[in-house]
Each structure stands twice: as C-alpha cells, then as structure tokens.
C-alpha cells in the first residue's frame, strides 16, 4: 500500500511540476510589463527599469522560473500590484470565505446525495425511484448560477429571509458569516448532489448485479443487510471519484457563485485579477488550486486503498 501511495504521490508531484511550467510559460508569453503596470503610465523609463531589476524581470527565463518556484516553497507568492500587498496574505484572507463555502457545499451535497442514491437503488423501478431520479436528472441540468439567481429572488428579495449577497466577515461571530453562506452553498450543492445521487444509485445497482451479492443472498442475508454490508462499500469507489472531482469543481465553481453573491472569496479574487491583468495574483492562485486538486486526488487514492483491499496489496 505504501508503494502504491508513493507511486500515486510521485505522479501527483510530476503533474504539479508540469502544471507549474505551464502556468509560468502562459504568464510569460502574455503581453504587459508587470513593472510598468505596477508603476502606472506616468513612470519614467528609468524607474521602470530599476523596478524590473529589483523584481528580477531582466534575468533569463529558467532562473526566474526557479526563483518563482523557490518563493512558492517558502510561502512567498510575490506581491500584487493592484492590491499592493503580498499575494499570500490576499489568499489567506480570501480562503477564509471560499474554503468554508466549498466544504459546506460538499458536506451538504454528500448528505443529500448518498441517502437519496441508496433509497432509489433499494427501491429500483418503483415510483419513488423514478421520481427521485427524475428530480436528480433535472437537478443535473440546472446551471448553478441561474439557480443562485432564483434563490436570491425567492429567499432574499421576496421572502427577505436571508441576505442577497455580501459577506460580513468572521469577526462578528460565526452566525452572520454562516448566514451569508447559506444561499451560495445551497446553489452550489444541489446540482452537485443531483450528480452524486445518480452516481451512487448506478454504482449500487452495478454492484447489486455482481455474483458475490447472490452469494450473500444465498447465505440467507436479507436485502437490506446485503445493501449496507456488501453493496455500499463496493460502490464507494465511483462515488469517491466523483466526490474528489466535485471538491475540485467546487473550489473553481465558487468563481461564478461568488460573483452572484458578491462574496470576497478566492474566486472573485482571481476573476478580478484576470480582468485587471494582475498576473502575479493569477499565477499564485492558479498554482494553489492545482496543488489542492493534486492533493485531493492523492487523498481519494488513499480512500480507495482503505475501501478496497486489492489496492492495499499493491
């Protein structure tokens, strides 16, 4: 199992290195001189030149790449010229909104999807199965930002139960912050829950067709126990895969939702940084998101190994 995980971690590291090269190269070929952007249009060429030297922009590309990587490793993500503050501070501040949002959404989506999937699979072909899967089918088709607009209209504009947007920060206690995240996380979670419920159901049905289910039934085990003890664990592999993908998606999916709700999260940060060409921020956030996704993939592999002894053996 250690070897299996080391190998997966190795592949993850390789992916990360390749991704950093891609990110760096893309930023490199983009037009725009960071030094000039930082100093503004009225700066003298001498001032720009001196800042370029100071930022190391005049050094050869490989050296700058290595400098950048070296900085990342010690937590130095550079300095944003639109916010005039270290990128790492911006990320830390914004992550305090985005991370809870993604985690709440993932928890919500899992808590809805797995019971619904189990329920539908255990009542396969009956009306309740058809109805819940019909609803899931519609849920999959709903764009989350549109769903967010509808939620805002119903719960904020019409019923006035929840805030329509904005974020009070965590300074005033947990409750106001959570209240601000309710609608965004529901908007993110429901379409994801629909996907996950469908995957759970079909994975369960696939497993329920396996020979070992028949062996368990021939032992005299009732359907209910067979479903919990024999089917669910075997069905977890595809479910875990989708959950890993969804967490990655939720991190990036916040870009749109944070826009709808005016939340000061990572998504809005990077979206604004892209439109304002604040490339150092873009670079930093993108590489961080990629690293998170790579890490999640490794965690999913660990989870596979816990679920399936055949993987542990490798």
């Amino acid at each position: 199992m250690i070897a299996f995980l080391l190998r997966r971690a190795g592949i993850g590291l390789l992916t990360l290195v390749l991704a950093s090269i891609v990110v760096f190269s893309v930023m490199e070929i983009l037009p725009g001189d960071p030094a000039r952007l930082m100093l503004g249009m009225n700066a003298t060429p001498e001032a720009v030149e001196s800042l370029r030297n100071q930022m190391g922009l005049n050094q050869p590309v490989p050296i700058r790449y290595l400098d950048w990587i070296g900085g990342l490793l010690v937590g130095d993500f550079g300095r944003s010229y639109t916010y005039s503050s270290p990128v790492i501070d911006l990320i830390a501040e914004r992550a305090s909104v985005s991370l809870p949002l993604a985690l709440i959404s993932l928890a919500l989506s899992t808590a809805i999807a797995i019971p619904v999937g189990l329920f539908a699979a255990s009542r396969r072909g009956r009306v309740s199965d058809t109805l819940s899967m019909g609803a899931a089918q519609v849920g999959v088709a709903i764009p989350n930002f549109w769903f967010a607009l509808i939620l805002v209209y119903v719960f904020a504009v019409w019923l006035r139960l929840l805030p329509a947007g904005g974020f009070p920060g965590w300074g005033g206690g947990i409750w106001p912050g959570v209240r601000a995240l309710v609608l965004p996380s529901v908007a993110l979670a429901l379409p994801q829950a629909a996907i996950l419920a469908r995957v759970t159901r079909s994975a369960l049905l696939e497993v329920l067709g396996e020979d070992y289910i028949r062996t368990a039934r021939a032992k005299g085990m009732p359907r209910r126990i067979v479903l919990w003890r024999h089917a669910l664990r075997n069905a977890m592999i595809p479910v875990l895969t989708i959950m890993g993908l969804q967490f990655a998606f939720l991190l990036a999916g916040t870009i749109i939702i944070e826009n709808v709700f005016y939340l000061p999260g990572l998504g809005r940060l990077i979206f604004q940084a892209i439109t304002q060409r604040d490339l150092i921020v873009v670079e930093g956030v993108v590489i961080l998101l990629v690293a998170t996704i790579v890490l999640i993939n490794i965690l999913v592999d660990v989870a596979y190994a816990i679920v399936d002894p055949r993987l542990r053996a490798r």
Binding site: E210, Y212, T215, M221, P222, N234, R314
Partner: protein
C-alpha cells in the same frame, strides 16, 4: 417423503418461457445429477429452489422443500431457509466472493445471522469449516482477502459458506466448469466427502455427463425447460431409453472417423513444417515501487519441438501452464524473450508486419469463443475474407466472393450465408465460420486454441468431425491447444504435455495418455472426466 419435490414447475421471465413443467425430486442424502446443454433451464431450476430469480420472473406449480411450500413462502421465511437449510455453490469462483471482506468474515456472517452466536463463536465455527474444506488457518488465516486466493481456493471458501451450517440440501451449479481438470477432481472429491459425511442431499448441475456419472446416485436429463428422463445413473446412461439421452451419451464419447489415423508417416525426416527452438517468454513483474518490480514471471521456459506437414498435434496442460502464450508466439502475435520459431524454415521472429505476410498466409488460427471471435458489425463475407488481405494481389470482388463461397462449402455452410451477420448463427455454426476464415488462404498450419471447449457436447462432436475431415482431405496440420484429453485423444496423432512453462512429456497421443510417465501428465489423465471409465467404475461398484 422426499427432501425436494418439484411438480409441474413453470417459469417465465418477462414473456420468455424458461421452464415448461419440471418434475423433480431429491431425497435426503442423495446426489441428483441434473444434466443438460446450455439454455436448458438447469440453473433456473436451482435458482427457483432458492427463490433468487431475476426480477420479472413468474412461477407456477409446486416446489416443496422439507414439507414447506417454497413458492408460497415470504421473503423472511426464505432468508431463514437460505444458507441454513439450503446452501448453494456457484459456477464462477473468481467473482462469487465479496472482494472487500476477508474470507473468515464471509464464512462467519451466515453463521452469526442464522444462529445468533457471538462473533468469537461464529469465527471459531468458520475456522473449523475452512479447515475442513482444505484451507487450514496456518496457511490461510481468516483475515485473507479473496484476491489473495486462487480460483480453486476461492471455490473452497464458497463451499465452506454453503456448508457451514450443515444444510439439508446443497445445490452446486456447475461448480467446476471454470476450473481445470485437476482442480475439478479435487473440488468434486471434496463435495462428495462433505455430502457423505454430513448426510446432505446434493443437487449437482452440470453439462458434463462424465462428471455426473462419477458423482450422482440418480440423474435427470433436461432439455428446453423440461425433464426428459430421470433414473438411477448407470442404468439410465447404459440403457439410454430416451433418444436425447442416447444422443448426449454418444456425443460425449464421440471419436471422429480419421481415415489415415496412425498410418500417417512421421515426417521428422523431411524438413519440418514448424520448428520451435528454445523459446522462452518472460513477463516483467508488476511494479511495486518507483524503480522496483516483482521478479519477472516466466510463462514459457525453453520450449523446443517440431511439427511435420499434415501432422495433428495436441498441446495439453492445466490452465496457466503457458500453452496459450506459446500458441500466440507461434502465430507471431507475441514475441519470445529468447529462442527461435521457424515456419517452413523461415523465422517468424523480429519481422515487420509486411515481411510476415507470406508466413501468415501459411498459418491461421481458430479461437475458443465462437461469440468473441467475430466483429459483430461485419458481414460473414467480410469476416471470412479477412485473411485474403495477406495475398500479394488483391482479389477482385467476384473472385473474393468465389473464395468465400468455397470456404463456406468446405465447412458445411451455404454460400448464401455470406450476406448474414455473425449473430444470426448458432455457436457451432460460428465455429464453422472461424474454421472457414482460417482455411481461406489454404494454410499449411492451423493453430486452434480450445476450439471446442465453449460448445455443447453434441455440437462439439460435429466440429471435431469437421476438423478430422479437413485434416484428411486437405492435409492441413493442426496444433490443438486444449485442456480436454478427450479432444486430444479424438483427433491428434501426437501430444505434448506442458507444465509450468515447459514441455514435460511428448509422444504418440494414445501412448502418452494411456501410459503417462511424467507426474504432470499422470495428474491430468487421472483427473480427466471420462464417461467410459466412469461408467465402468460405477458398474463395478454396483456389482
């Protein structure tokens, strides 16, 4: 009163009738062999007894187990019955166990459920049961997972699960079909011992008359959802009252007429058709770390032999002995790690696809699975004509059709069949198509990998006849890869016995199979089910 009484059992799944009035009884402590070809409804009869039928099934009739009406029982009653009073062993041991639970827990689960005993007691019972089926804890701890066991060992676990609570009836549905003959013998012996020792009734379902003859007290012959004949095993099979019983028995013992059998001169003196010289094939081991790998696995180990023109040779051995790997290398579908293979004196090793073409014209292949060996989307004409690609000059459409028609006639099919698709043919007809495809370039050698083992006995007999006839008429040489000694005996002049990658014995087929000298050959011969021998033994036993 019998343990199981089935009367006028009818079963349909959706609109398809499966069973059309089955009458069957199994007495306490009796072994009943249920024999029939594929699709006859044997498995469905067993699943009806367990009430584990597919969802859209409808049953009528009477099924009584130990005084209880099975068809009227509710799900709770069935759950109490299954695993406790009726145990079941399935055909496919590789998939019958849950991969995520250790074997001890899988055996103990049913014990705990039915007896309500605590975990420790149930595990002790499971330990004793696994020990009884030949998996002692010292070598197979309860914490082993199914993937750590071989197919034969897994089937032992399934048997342990089925027999853990001493059921009154054990149902074994083709329990050895997925295993090689040596394992088959071991598993059948185990089943017989358990049944004798515990006084269980056994419903043994099999397509193999020889297996049933060895095992069963009584036999029931089934076809198209009906029981045609039941009776005491040796009498039923020797008297053969029902024509279908006779047909089955004769097909099982069928030996094709071979005009020149034994008279064909050995061709060693002249230049051999095929020569295999010191061929070895290693597979690199599984990756275990960044740079470390498991030790390479040697599938074929320094194999050398020669075959003459028109010679029919069998390559026999247990599953996994390397015979299929060797066949693929001869066909240049896989490259040896070392050694040389020559066809008509020219090496097939290390040639590009273009350089191989003249050699490929002279060697063609017939595979085991009549369903998997055709692209379902092509017409027969296109499929059978495929090897014509090997000709240097592309034949005209008319010429191509003429050749396909000739090949189809050669194997007993009509030229009009060439416009059809493979799914329109039965298994036996597809195997004829396979042979037609192999013949179309008039090869000197056909390599046939288990060409009849997926076929029912009556079809198998016809295909063996066809092989024998083509050998006599066209002088084509065969290399038959098979685990079935009956097939080897029926249509080959010489036999080679392969064991763990090496050829351990070879010679005239009759000599080797009658007087095997190597241990591997002896094990194969002793384990091979043979209807003649089984009948003789039973007759002696019953006096």
């Amino acid at each position: 009163m019998s343990l199981v009484e089935i009367e006028k059992l009818r079963l349909s799944i959706g609109d398809t009738p499966i069973l059309n009035g089955v009458d069957l009884t199994v007495d306490k402590g009796e072994i009943l062999g249920l024999v029939g070809e594929s699709g006859s409804g044997k498995s469905m009869t067993a699943l009806t007894l367990m009430r584990l039928l597919p969802q859209a099934s409808e049953t009528t009739g009477r099924v009584i187990f130990d005084g209880r009406d099975i068809l009227a029982a509710n799900e709770d009653e069935m759950c109490r019955l299954r695993g406790d009073e009726v145990g079941m062993v399935f055909q496919e041991p590789m998939t019958a166990l849950n991969p995520v639970h250790p074997i001890g827990r899988q055996v103990a689960e049913g014990i705990r459920w039915h007896t309500g005993s605590n975990r420790a007691d149930a595990e002790n019972a499971a330990r004793r049961m696994l020990d009884r089926v030949g998996l002692p804890e010292s070598r197979f701890p309860l914490t082993r997972y199914p993937h750590e066991l071989s197919g034969g060992q897994r089937q032992r676990v399934v048997i342990a699960i089925a027999c853990a609570l001493n059921p009154k009836l054990l149902i074994a549905d083709e329990p050895t079909t997925a295993l090689d003959v040596v394992l088959q013998k071991q598993i059948l012996d185990l089943l017989k011992d358990l049944v004798d020792e515990r006084g269980m009734g056994l419903l043994l379902i099999s397509h193999d008359l020889a297996v049933v003859t060895e095992m069963a007290d009584r036999v029931a012959i089934m076809r198209r959802g009906e029981i045609l004949e039941t009776g005491e095993t040796t009498r039923t099979l020797s008297e053969q009252v029902h024509p279908y019983t006779r047909q089955l028995a004769q097909a099982s013992m069928h030996v094709p007429q071979r005009t020149e059998k034994g008279a064909r001169p050995r061709t060693r003196a002249s230049s051999p058709l095929l020569s295999v010289e010191g061929v070895t094939r290693d597979y690199s081991g599984r990756r275990t770390g960044f740079l470390s790998r498991e030790r390479p696995f040697r599938a074929v180990d320094h194999v050398s032999f020669e075959m003459g023109r028109g010679q029919s040779v069998a390559l026999v051995g247990r599953s996994g002995c390397g015979k299929s790997t060797l066949a693929r290398m001869i066909l240049a579908l896989d490259a040896p790690t070392s050694g040389d293979i020559k066809l008509k004196g020219e090496t097939v090793i290390g040639r590009g696809e273009a350089e191989l073409r003249p050699l490929r014209r002279d060697m063609q292949v017939v595979f085991q699975d009549p369903y998997g060996s055709f692209n379902p989307r092509h017409t027969v004409e296109r499929l059978v004509a495929e090897p014509l690609h090997l000709l240097d000059e592309k034949p005209s459409p008319a010429d191509r059709r003429e050749r396909v028609a000739a090949a189809l006639r050669e194997v007993g099919l009509a030229p009009a069949d060439m416009a059809k698709y493979p799914h329109e043919f039965s298994g036996g007809q597809r195997q004829r198509l396979s042979i037609a495809r192999a013949l179309i370039t008039r090869p000197a050698l056909i390599v046939a990998d288990e060409p009849v083992s997926a076929l029912d006995v009556s079809i198998r007999a016809q295909i063996l006849d066809l092989f024998a006839e083509l050998n006599s008429r066209l002088g084509v040489a065969y290399l038959f890869i098979t685990h079935d000694l009956t097939v080897a005996r029926a249509i080959t002049d010489d036999v080679m016995v392969m064991h763990e990658g090496s050829i351990v014995e070879s010679g005239r087929t009759a000599d080797v199979l009658d007087n095997p000298r190597s241990e591997a050959a002896r094990a194969l011969v002793e384990a091979a089910p043979d209807l003649h021998r089984a009948m003789a033994r039973r007759l002696v036993q019953s006096g």
